[in-house]
Symmetry: C2
Subunit: 343 residues, 2 copies
């Protein structure tokens, strides 16, 4: 059942881009609020959407409680290559796991992961990956899991920039989140990543509170520890795979309102964007195209690359975006700067 948790994902230490003076949809405010965006159609679409939904005299005005914006995480608000961060976590957690359970040392797939042989690890079949996910994401209490992820995220480095994963957030997207919040929007994650995983760093990294993280959800079991203290234990029981059709299902479950704005980057976000656009009034659907191999990565139809296992920006998705009025964000052409750490 964990198969579907693979389109998972996940995190960042926020560079908290303060949104000085962006309390209205006023264009000059927007210029201050979205400094990393070039003045193209993508940036204009965001500003116009905020203007028409927050101006009380606009026919498309949206009352504040209805202002819901949802963001996919991996590939939409931070780097998802060469592997989504939560998978990196699970693999790097294996040594600590084997320390607790030495009997796993010579058992596959843990043996291969311990070998450090990257090629062999990359070739592990899905079934083995699931086993690693279940072993590293469940079985402990929610408090223990939180402590484990917190420690890892504070110290782990990505293989390309050798920076904490939490620094691989896209500065322009952090600016959009802040701009929306400053205009009365509640900003949610709607991610295939594990809800408990993302919640550990989402507030610090993105300003998104735990209760505003919609992710893939596993069951917990209430019980008592040996001292009689109430605990919740994470179970290998998937309640909802928050990917593809699971995204609008997760939005309904966790929020109970249809978003007015949604941001994604792959086929995993298709249903969320459709569901968002199907609502009445002003609705904004945006989709990030990874077309900047120099500053980040290039994958997607413009690059003629094949689909990957993880949700990808396919040609069909590109065509649907054109047809249904979703705005494509070109990382290369729309963003002056991608990361806060760039000069």
């Amino acid at each position: 059942m964990f198969t579907r948790m693979l389109n998972a994902a996940v995190f960042a230490i926020a560079i908290a881009t303060l949104c000085a003076g962006c309390t209205t949809g006023n264009p000059s405010m927007a210029r201050e609020a979205l400094p990393s965006w070039k003045d193209g159609p993508a940036r204009q679409a965001i500003v116009q959407f905020v203007q028409k939904t927050t101006d009380k005299s606009s026919p498309q005005y949206v009352p504040e409680p209805e202002r819901i914006a949802t963001f996919d995480q991996d590939g939409t608000t931070w780097v998802e290559k060469p592997e989504v961060t939560q998978i990196m976590y699970c693999l790097e957690r294996v040594p600590a796991l084997v320390k607790q359970k030495p009997e796993l040392k010579d058992v596959e797939p843990f043996k291969t992961v311990l070998s450090g042989n990257r090629e062999a690890i990359a070739k592990l079949p899905m079934k083995d990956l699931e086993e690693i996910l279940a072993a590293t994401l469940t079985g402990m209490t929610t408090d223990e899991f939180q402590a484990q992820v917190k420690q890892w995220i504070a110290t782990a480095k990505d293989p390309r920039w050798h920076k904490p994963y939490t620094e691989l957030t896209y500065l322009p997207m952090l600016e959009v989140m802040n701009y929306l919040r400053a205009n009365g929007y509640k900003v949610y994650f709607v991610t295939g990543g594990g809800q408990d995983f993302v919640r550990v760093y989402s507030e610090k990294t993105y300003g998104i509170a735990p209760e505003q993280v919609v992710g893939s959800m596993g069951g917990t079991q209430f019980g008592y520890d040996k001292d009689g203290k109430p605990i919740l234990t994470k179970e290998p029981r998937l309640l909802l795979n928050d990917d593809k059709a699971g995204k609008p299902e997760g939005i309904h479950l966790m929020i109970g309102r249809r978003p007015h704005a949604a941001f994604g980057n792959s086929t995993g976000d298709k249903e969320m964007l459709e569901y968002t656009k199907a609502g009445a009034g002003a609705r904004l659907a945006m989709i990030v195209l990874h077309d900047d191999a120099r500053r980040e990565y290039a994958y997607g139809p413009a690059q003629g690359l094949p689909d990957t296992k993880m949700g990808a920006f396919t040609q069909a998705l590109y065509d649907q975006a054109q047809k249904q009025g979703w705005i494509v964000i070109s990382m290369k052409n729309d963003w002056k700067q991608i990361f806060a750490f760039e000069k």
Copy 2:
């Protein structure tokens, strides 16, 4: 699987008790904010809790994002006798259902419900009740369901006071919700009632937004209608029974933070109160005792009544409250007024 959805429940048109001047934990403010409370230990516990958690100089100060308060609904914030409101809804929905599906007319248990024979209806076994719940709560789109409940709640009347169910809310509890909100608390429902059901009226009746309703959760299925428009269809698949151990599990799933204050009235709230009190710092656990047969109902250990099928205030729960420092709220002794419609 619907068995467990029975500890269900639910609703009310809010009497929106505006909280004039209750922006701090200041006792004089509290006097204005909690006018329906007699000045006893229950009222004092609420005021003291708010004071010590919102005063920055207090060692028990709680930062605003951590200020979470959870309320059970049936029997805690509105009347649950002679039957919880959601069950009334399901029974009264049967004629409309049979109109859509005439083949059910002579089939049990629908036939008995249609007969209007109250004694026979009250005697329906759990299995039959489940069948009625599944037939009236699932199978339609989320939008259709919302419209059905909205229409019913606007017109249905309770059998004792002959008022809309939404007027059977407890004024003192609405005051507590407003007092907490005015002091930076986020107020959630954590109810055994169906999440989608409660969300229809919770904002108008209690000021609780849909995204702050944690209830029993059913799965939905994303799809498209005949015009290709995205829809979500309610499925008879229980994701979480938000009762007893399901309450802390639901809190973790939907909020991801431990409450600082929790309010309940029955064995169904025991685990939520335990989980709340087990957190560090100031934690408030309160439990409503129905001991006022004249103004409302009397059931529970003080009345020597037996346990009911629906969660009840048992002697064991009363003893646990004394032992673990939960504050018992006596409807008779702590509340000057119960309903807004009383003189």
